[in-house]
């Protein structure tokens, strides 16, 4: 796995996250669930910024950034704020694993971005009723 491949994988994950967050936002009432709506909006904007950042990095490396798929499979049950919150938490945890993967496959000189993304996403999990973990993004260490 090269650094560029890891970047492309992470970018693909951002494309998916943006799509899913768009759907989660559409299922959330701004007036009925303002805190959740704000958290989803913040997450959506954060992932858009990360996508743009990754596209810029890949472009600077003379690589063609991975394009978004036309559509992504959405979770089936989005009919309640509880379900939307749970899906958002799942999404952030998945992103944390992806960023940890990027950390592992980044050269030291380029690694700080990935580390910061992992830290930011781990904290964002808490907005979706996540509880602190011992090894965010690295579950393989959890049972040691």
């Amino acid at each position: 796995m090269t650094y560029v491949e890891a970047l492309q994988t992470t970018l693909a994950g951002e494309h998916a996250a943006i799509y899913v967050y768009g759907a989660l936002g559409a299922q959330t009432s701004q007036s009925g669930a303002p805190t959740l709506y704000a958290a989803i909006t913040d997450a959506y904007e954060a992932h858009r910024a990360r996508r743009d950042q990754l596209v810029a990095i890949l472009t600077d490396l003379d690589e063609e950034p991975a394009a978004a798929e036309p559509a992504y499979q959405l979770p089936a049950d989005l009919g309640s704020t509880t379900a939307v919150t749970a899906r958002a938490l799942d999404l952030e945890r998945s992103c944390a694993s992806t960023y940890a993967y990027l950390v592992a496959n980044s050269p030291a000189a380029e690694r700080r971005l990935a580390v910061n993304l992992l830290v930011q996403t781990a904290v964002r999990e808490l907005a979706f009723r996540g509880t602190p973990e011992t090894f965010p993004g690295s579950d393989e260490y959890a049972d040691r």
Binding site: Y3, A100, A104, V115, V119, L126, E133, D139
Partner: protein
């Protein structure tokens, strides 16, 4: 100490089981067995220092004893990965603010250590530890 150092080398070097890491991590460089041993020892001491602050605060206040339990458990789990000694009992008093300050410092140190690591796997582990500390800090805020 010897057992602790052996643990450090296992984490830092080539003995890490990549398949156990979910198949996602491959080293970006080919680390030697002791390429990161100094870094690991430094991080272990930094976690111990933060753990001491937490211990001080927990002994000083019944409320903090309960509230800071997750942080104490987190430090113990992180030290366990390095197979190092458990946090040493500490004396004296501290405040929650001192704990926050110590944990903020530890988080930055873990980020810097993740960036400095030769091994991609160790970098991932240290970054994950930094993220865990950041979560606990957010809960304490």
């Amino acid at each position: 100490m010897a057992a602790g150092l052996a643990g450090m080398l296992t984490v830092a070097g080539c003995d890490l089981d990549w398949s156990a890491a979910g198949g996602t991590a491959e080293p970006t460089t080919a680390p030697t067995a002791d390429a990161d041993s100094g870094l690991v020892e430094q991080v272990q001491q930094q976690i111990l220092d933060a753990s001491t602050r937490v211990g001080d605060a927990r002994r000083a206040s019944p409320d903090l004893r309960r509230r800071l339990r997750p942080l104490a458990d987190l430090h113990e789990a992180h030290l366990h990965v390095f197979e190092g000694p458990p946090a040493e009992p500490a004396t004296g008093r501290s405040s929650l603010e001192k704990v926050r300050s110590a944990e903020s410092t530890l988080q930055r140190q873990l980020v810097d250590a993740a960036v400095a690591a030769e091994s991609g796997a160790l970098a991932k582990l240290l970054a994950s530890m930094a993220a865990a500390v950041a979560q606990e800090l957010a809960v304490l805020a």
